[in-house]
Amino acid sequence: MMFRKQSPLSSSIQSTVDSALKREILLAQNIQMSLLNGEKPQLASGEVTGSTIPARLIGGDYFDFYPLPDGKIRIVIGDVMGKGIPAAMLMILTRGAFRSASETTQSPGETLSAMNNALFADLRKLGSFVTVFCSDWDPETGKLTYASAGHNLPIIVRGSRALETARSATGVMIGGLPKQYYDNYEVRLQTNDLVFFYTDGIVEAQNRQGDIFRLNRLVQLLVETGQRDAEHIERHVIESIDRFTEGLPQKDDITMIILKVGECQSELTGYNAPILNA
């Protein structure tokens, strides 16, 4: 067996390459965090906030807010297949598709269709996909219109119970099939309702015993803290996951958006949803 002795020169070149790569990854992380932590929309009443914790230096989760001309806000959350740099590159592509689609489309379902039309060929070529949940929030009427492309539905907490959203509101993931149509659904929210949008990194967080955090644990803690402000809820969720995982390295990106409903001008009671068992 022969070993080639590494020359000091090649070691020096390797070290230069490593530090250049490290610097570039940190720059990419800065770019991603700047794009994700853009200006938060100011609501006349209530609050909306989002946060993401990548499993690695950069991640494939995505959230965004897009103010619409009629006073509504388009809220989107997405999860790119995979992790790290490849997922982050596709996340940026997804953001571009969302922002561009939001300029011209009238509803969340239309936005998802436009995003799928824009991204399908590239994602199929790469053997990848993105799940996206898109919704239009109207703070004046309290109406949340939504559509899903393979993404889990948000948890809505009213008082001491979680409401069940329409389980049928799931279309095919972005990049799954061409020319997809996504149905719009709507729910009337009430003052102090909490809407929690999330990616599966939260419910699939694992501890050292291999146990999974699971949806019912998340629902329970949201019911417990649903009446507090968004920042408190966000902190409580992150601390609960940390406690559960006992410091085990995070396997998947974790992202959440918290919408706390303020006083709605026209509070209608058109939504009698069944209670979701926590």
């Binding site: 790119v80 297949m81 990848s128 799940t131 393979g150 799931t170 095919v172 599966d200």
Partner: protein
């Protein structure tokens, strides 16, 4: 964390059995030496012994579905646990299978 992929041709059926964890760290094994044998008319993906799957693993299953569809094979997924079935339903995997079987994605 390991995955073991068994491939077996039984008559005209091509069985792919996935054991263990199919995720970001093990997915490469699903790509290795991937050839659908001649004379196959049906692909069966057996996930009875699959312990965990993440989005990368699901991407791998989707690529199998597309490969099978490109060869116009009938495709079946066997042994889905309820929680994995729920994830597949949310993502639209069954809708994709149906569309591929109907030739809906062939351009």
């Amino acid at each position: 964390m390991v995955v073991r992929i068994e491939q077996q041709k039984v008559g005209e059926e091509y069985w792919i059995r996935i054991h263990g964890i199919l995720d970001f760290s093990t997915m490469d094994q699903l790509h290795e030496d991937w050839v659908i044998p001649d004379g196959t008319s049906k692909m069966v993906i057996d996930v009875t012994h699959m312990e965990f799957i993440d989005s990368t693993g699901i991407g791998g299953i989707l690529n199998l579905l597309y490969s099978g569809s490109a060869k116009q094979l009938a495709i079946e997924i066997q042994g889905l646990r309820e929680e994995v079935k729920e994830i597949f339903e949310t993502l639209g995997v069954f809708q994709i299978m149906k569309a591929l079987q109907a030739g809906g994605d062939r351009k």
